[in-house]
């Protein structure tokens, strides 16, 4: 039973989002003054439009008022949006994924009653997670029982009725625009990490936007200084694990965004190769250019297979258990392969443009930068390889950061 058909719904939503991108997003984001990677602002009006199309609540269940899309569909949409603008795609992917985790799984009924109506009513209601980035690099601790895996950097002390939060988290995706944070914390007196809902306007919470962060979307440093959070904002047990997905089998949304970036570069190169005449004919008719374009297409296609595979696997976890899928962290596998292979594809695409490939008012240098961010932002590929290798070696690290901190 091997089936790569997309469902009619998946095809329809992909086409709809592609059309939206071509009609609405590209005309704005491809303006020359917005292509400088040092000076990008989020097109908030377009995010409003996307929200009204249902993309902000894409993964949120239909019962809760969302579109209820599966992970593969979310990846298709992320690719389409990122083919226009990676930041735009990243903001929506983060909010949509968190909406599903929080409203459909991690919140109590009372918490949903409090937050869901506001989420649904406000097109600019965005979500973020702080403190759940998995801690430090694996590096020297590969295949060792490390004593120094850091605990969540944010602590929550029980202060009779409320929790008091202290600590900070860096490069929190969506931080500058989030209305509510899910905060992964070391809870005093508990073995496992916990997670709390903290509204952005809470006293003691401060957000500083990062200038030109090496990740897509917007990001910021979130600081908690004696920030008091009502006891009722503690998410269900197990929420921290849902939010951090340390098993390497999460939804490959970042990799889908990477695909979108590379596809934009590829499409630009293909169009240009048909138009640009050198050596007496369109350059696509020259062997050297043709084989380069073929290489880019090959890389995109194989990378997409890795992303879709990981996305489908995250929709069908039982396929690991019945041995249909290999015992590998498929999202992490996709991260390494996709970022490296597409970085090369984008650089090849830029080469076709000659000097125009490096100009800040032209799109190719933006794609090159964005692909580089995919390779170096977040968990490094070196660390990702070590995580995969620990799995291969059957190594299991005992305990987690929260336990270490609590003991």
């Amino acid at each position: 039973m091997y089936n790569l058909h997309l469902s009619p719904e998946q095809l329809e939503i992909r086409d709809t989002v592609r059309e939206f991108g071509a009609q609405k997003i590209k005309p704005v984001v491809l303006k020359s003054d917005r292509l400088d990677v040092r000076d990008r602002t989020l097109p908030m009006d377009l995010l409003d439009l996307a929200s009204r199309m249902g993309l902000r609540g894409l993964a949120l269940s239909e019962d809760a008022g969302g579109a209820g899309s599966d992970n593969l569909t979310c990846c298709l949409v992320a690719e389409e949006l990122a083919a226009c603008d990676a930041d735009f795609a990243a903001v929506l992917a983060e909010t949509s994924w968190l909406a599903h985790v929080l409203f459909d799984q991690a919140m109590t009924a009372e918490q949903c009653d409090g937050f869901l109506p506001r989420f649904l009513a406000d097109d600019r209601f965005h979500l973020a997670i702080a403190g759940g980035d998995g801690g430090a690099r694996l590096g020297i601790n590969y295949h060792r029982q490390a004593s120094d895996i850091p605990a969540p950097t944010i602590t929550a002390t029980d202060s009779g009725g409320d929790f008091t939060l202290n600590g900070a988290a860096d490069w929190v995706a969506n931080a500058p625009i989030a209305n509510v944070f899910a905060v992964v914390v070391a809870l005093s007196g508990r073995r496992d990490a916990g997670a709390l809902l903290v509204p952005a306007d809470s006293a003691g919470l401060a957000v500083r936007a990062h200038d030109r962060p090496w990740r897509h979307g917007v990001a910021g440093r979130v600081t908690f200084e004696d920030c008091r959070v009502p006891r009722g904002h503690l998410l269900k047990d197990g929420a921290a694990a849902l939010l951090t997905r340390a098993d390497g089998r999460g939804i490959p949304l970042d990799q889908a965004i990477n695909l979108g970036i590379a596809r934009a570069a590829y499409e630009a190169a293909l169009d240009y190769a048909r138009l640009r005449v050198q050596g007496g004919r369109p350059i696509i008719e020259h062997q050297a250019i043709a084989t380069k374009l073929a290489d880019i297409a090959i890389r995109l296609e194989v990378a997409r297979a890795a992303v879709w595979g990981a996305a489908w696997a995250s929709d069908h976890p039982a396929a690991f258990a019945d041995r249909s899928l290999p015992d590998l962290p498929l999202q992490t596998v996709a991260q390494v392969f996709v970022s490296e292979t597409l970085h090369k594809a984008v650089r090849d695409a830029a080469e076709l443009f000659g000097a125009m490939g490096v100009m800040r008012d032209m799109p190719l240098q933006k794609y090159v930068h964005d692909a580089l961010v995919c390779m170096h932002g977040g968990v490094s590929n070196g660390d990702a390889r070590l995580r995969i290798a620990e799995g291969l070696a059957g190594f299991r690290r005992s305990g987690n950061g929260a336990q270490v901190a609590a003991e």
Binding site: G139, W171, W214, A288, G354, A355, G357, V368, H376, G377
Partner: protein
């Protein structure tokens, strides 16, 4: 086989290293970060370097230059580029065209133009070949007369009237004298119908258009040139009419002047970036603790450091051999191969440096970011498929 440097070569290398350490490195990142492309140039650093001889290094001694050999030139380019690749290029770009002057200009032209160039410490040179519709066609000209550059020059009495435009021209916004390739016979292919002219900045009808906003090599400015009935005296024709390609290393890539040097230049400059990346990566790996040990203790990092150094030393061996061959007047395709090779090496080494650095919070180290952006410039200058096929055709000749 003797790899020893002469005293003169060694002393140029040391002078360049000192100038790079003391004057260039301190301003490198600051210049790179200037957001407006037209404001990155600093004539002060050019003046300082010029006083030490780095602007006129390749001008023959009888004309007031330093007449340094190619080995010294390669050493100086690499040393300057170790502190800032774009600033190194801003100096060596002048050598490229001073090679051309000594190879191709008449005594009268040298008398009219060289003394001003020598005397003015901020005087820089440029050469205009590329046009919006003609890039690769100038490098590998097809036989079709319609292919290649279009800027037209028509004879009117003792003058030539130039009309058209050039794009992506290095030093255009800051240069004072340019070599311009123009079509003087449009009925024949580029190779037979192109003439080179000396065009001073203040030529009537000639102006500079936009300054291109490059992502790398920020300091080294690049601009548009516009010619509207620009009047250039016949005495400014370099070599013969319709002889640009044969005489000068202009369009089409002959190997007697600027072009031959240009291949070595890009390879030597790349070597400087590699040296910078290797030293910086090692310093970072040894000086940064992770899990109670320096990064350098990790096998993964050791392998990265190994590869960076291995590639860089291979490039150094190639660059120095090509420089030596130039000095010995041995003509081989090696300069072109070294240039192509330097693209692969400088890009891989810069990216490995970025990998060793990793992210600092949410930010990439601006130095690693700069080296990668600078290294990407090599793609279209030194390592695209046209630049590789051009060298293959030299080999196949």
């Amino acid at each position: 086989m003797d790899f020893t440097l002469s005293n003169e070569q060694r002393s140029w290398q040391m002078a360049a290293r000192k100038f790079a350490d003391e004057e260039i490195r301190p301003i490198s990142l600051e210049r790179d970060a200037i957001p407006t492309a037209a404001e990155t140039w600093d004539s002060d650093i050019i003046r300082k370097g010029s006083k030490l001889g780095f602007r006129t290094l390749a001008v023959p001694k009888e004309w007031g230059g330093h007449g340094a050999d190619f080995v010294s030139q390669a050493l100086v380019m690499a040393e300057l580029a170790r502190a800032d690749s774009a600033i190194s290029k801003a100096f060596s770009q002048n050598w490229k065209w001073s090679h051309l002057i000594s190879a191709s200009c008449t005594e009268d032209q040298k008398r009219r133009f060289l003394p001003d160039f020598i005397a003015d410490h901020t005087f820089v040179l440029g050469k205009g070949i590329t046009e919006p519709g003609a890039g690769s066609d100038n490098r590998l000209p097809p036989d079709d007369p319609k292919a290649g550059l279009k800027l037209k020059a028509e004879r009117r009495g003792d003058e030539w009237i130039l009309n058209g435009e050039k794009a992506f021209i290095a030093n255009a916004p800051v240069g004072k004298l340019f070599f311009i390739d123009a079509r003087t016979d449009t009925s024949v292919p580029l190779r037979q119908g192109t003439t080179m002219f000396l065009v001073p900045r203040d030529t009537p009808g000639f102006r500079i258009g936009k300054v291109f906003n490059k992502s790398g090599w920020r300091f080294y400015q690049n601009g548009e040139m516009i010619f509207e009935d620009a009047r250039v005296p016949h005495a400014n024709v370099v070599g013969e009419v319709n002889g640009a390609v044969r005489k000068s290393g202009g369009a089409g890539g002959d190997t007697t002047g600027g072009d031959l040097f240009g291949d070595l230049e890009l390879a030597a400059n790349a070597l400087g970036i590699c040296d910078d990346a290797c030293a910086s990566a090692l310093r970072h790996a040894k000086g940064t603790q992770q899990g109670g040990q320096p990064l350098f203790a990790q096998q993964m990092v050791q392998l990265q450091i190994n590869r960076m150094h291995m590639l860089s030393e291979a490039l150094r061996a190639f660059v120095m051999r090509v420089a030596w061959e130039h000095d010995m007047k041995i003509h081989t395709p090696n300069a072109g191969l070294a240039m192509n090779f330097s693209t692969d090496v400088v890009q891989e080494v810069a990216e490995l440096y970025m990998t060793v650095r990793g992210l600092d919070g949410a930010h990439m180290d601006p130095h690693a970011d700069k080296l990668v952006r600078d290294s990407i410039i090599w793609t279209h200058l030194a390592g695209d498929s046209v630049q590789r096929m051009k060298v293959a055709r030299r080999i196949g000749r």
